[in-house]
């Protein structure tokens, strides 16, 4: 091969050589197998790998490498004389050493951008639709966990008397979010007293951040004080976001496509129904420093056949909720991760803007 033009020392050979460990060649074989299996859901044989990879090796050589990879736990064989399937460990290596850059592909990224440029309105609606967007983008079920109110600025806080013994606590945040909690009182309280407490509360909280509002102010009047004391707990509840369900699940129907066993579909669906579980799952994954949890990695049995992709949301640089994707372990990691990251980043930006600009749109 004569170098016809001296003017390209390293041609555009797009052989991204990222990963040592496991050996250059064995790695690209693994990569080829995982990619292919993700696409076809069929066990991959040595012949296919030989054809697919750039390295020119015979199937026999590939075969011996594959045997090695199996011994090391990256691959598994459904039965003798079938091709190989990636194990969780295999997928893990794949995502950790992705050759494809994890940043989003331009067309999709653009889609996300224009989506966020167009979507306006209430926060809940934005989150809800983000979730749908992410599901549509990836064809996996998505989850959006709304940020708590911890760092939000209070625009107004009020008490409204409903019954003699029950009072509604209203918290209006400067981003237009409204939260509420019903407080039951031990003894009946007059409306006028509630109103007085409300004024006091509002004056105290207005303009502060949610974190800064405890302790509540006190009053000379015992009756007013009683109301304030009763409200205390609910204020904290609201601060921590325990009051409204703030999980948005998008595209659960995608699960029916992602898994072929109907029983799997059922069990995964039923998990998505339990919002608490979902929230804590995402939190755990994030806390463990991962962005992807594959198979057993999150020690959550019922989702052993799933992979979870998480991207954090942040407001003012602090973590605030998350977006996630739920699919089979053989999911399109590069694309899905890219999408989740893109939506996460973009959504974070809008949340920031929202918060600092004030209200909607």
């Amino acid at each position: 091969m004569p170098p016809s033009k001296s003017k390209r020392p390293v041609p555009a050979s797009s052989n991204t050589k990222t990963s040592p460990a496991l050996g250059e060649r064995r790695a690209s074989i693994l990569d080829a197998i995982v990619s292919r299996y993700i696409g076809t859901a069929q066990p991959v044989g040595s012949g296919q790998v030989a054809d697919a990879t750039g390295l020119h090796l015979s199937s026999a050589t590939i075969r011996s490498e594959m045997a090695q990879l199996e011994q090391e736990g990256y691959l598994a064989q459904p039965h003798t004389s079938a091709g190989r399937i990636p194990t969780d460990k295999g997928y893990r290596y794949f995502v950790d050493h992705l050759t494809t850059p994890t940043s989003a592909s331009t067309p999709e990224l653009k889609k996300v951008r224009t989506f966020f440029d167009e979507v306006h309105g209430e926060l809940e609606e934005v989150l809800e639709r983000s979730s749908t967007l992410l599901a549509d983008l990836t064809s996996y079920a998505s989850v959006v966990v709304a940020p708590g109110h911890t760092s939000s600025q209070v625009r107004s806080m009020q008490l409204v008397s409903l019954e003699p013994t029950s009072v509604l606590l209203l918290v209006i945040l400067s981003d237009g979010t409204v939260d509420k909690a019903t407080v039951t009182l031990d003894t009946p309280i007059e409306e006028a007293v509630v109103a007085e407490a409300s004024v006091l509360l509002d004056a105290h909280c207005r303009g502060r951040q949610m974190v800064d509002i405890s302790p509540l102010p006190s009053s000379n009047s015992p009756a007013v004080q009683a109301v304030l004391t009763a409200v205390q707990a609910s204020v904290i509840e609201v601060e921590q976001g325990a009051t409204n369900d703030h999980v948005f699940v998008g595209g659960p129907s995608k699960l029916a496509d992602a898994f072929d066993a109907v029983e799997t579909v059922r069990s995964v669906l039923s998990i998505l129904e339990e919002q608490l579980v979902v929230v804590s799952l995402l939190r755990d994954v994030l806390n463990s420093g991962l962005s992807v949890a594959i198979g057993q990695e999150h020690g959550f049995e019922p989702l052993a056949s799933c992979a979870v992709i998480v991207a954090p949301l942040s407001i003012d640089g602090k973590p605030a909720g998350a977006v996630g994707l739920l699919g089979p372990t053989r999911m399109q990691y590069p694309a899905a991760m890219a999408a989740a990251n893109a939506v996460g980043a973009e959504l974070s930006e809008r949340l920031n803007r929202r918060k600092n600009d004030g209200g909607a749109a």
Copy 2:
């Protein structure tokens, strides 16, 4: 057969003879086939019917009757030499002439009662959990459409200025529900003006029913008037409940059990994702005066293999939302209808109590 005791002219023969039309005997054959098919999902043959029904007839006789029923469109045959399957028309006859009384069986009814005795808290939570209850009770996916605010009494109505050009409309109802809408103004308005408008609005609305609040009061100050005008549209929006999504879907995972074809599961799920469609579906069914829509009866193609059971909610005797069940056409009609009715009735009662007593619990 000598009447051994003159003292029972018509013994406790539980032969509920409800339905003329179609002929007594043919009806009970149809009934037997439908019941059995609902249970087993297998085509039912003449032999099975002969064994199952009380009437002592040979399979041959049954057979000729079945042939008739098929010609009349109540039954269908998957293929020659298989048993019969009910058609939509067959199911329709079945539910219209239910021998089992549609009122709930006592054990379940009790469950519903104690559930509602125990559940307290925000309206949204009650509805959400009702939906889950209904799904658990029946093993079908359930839907609860929240009542609109039309007949609710306004406890307070306020405007909160968020940005110079955007105002938050807050509506607090006497049942503790809070609704909101963001109103964008054409020109920047000072906070003081918004506050003035808020006071005016609150004074006008407080204590009235949502239906009675339009038209809004007017003001001498042009600035205040401008705000009120801008708010008008959102008030109506809120009144008609267009502002927050008020559909609660329960137990979608049940669908995976109810249908065996995974493709069906997917398509039904994806329909449940579109709340607008679900709401209008239930409304249509109710408007057509039915409580059950089987197969094609609601002209909604994608749900042709489903049956929909609807029970209305009512507040002060006026229709206000609905609860629904979604399952395969071969669903356990008697039990499911009973459950839906029970939950519907009980929930209605709680809603009434809530509204008239005032706040929560």
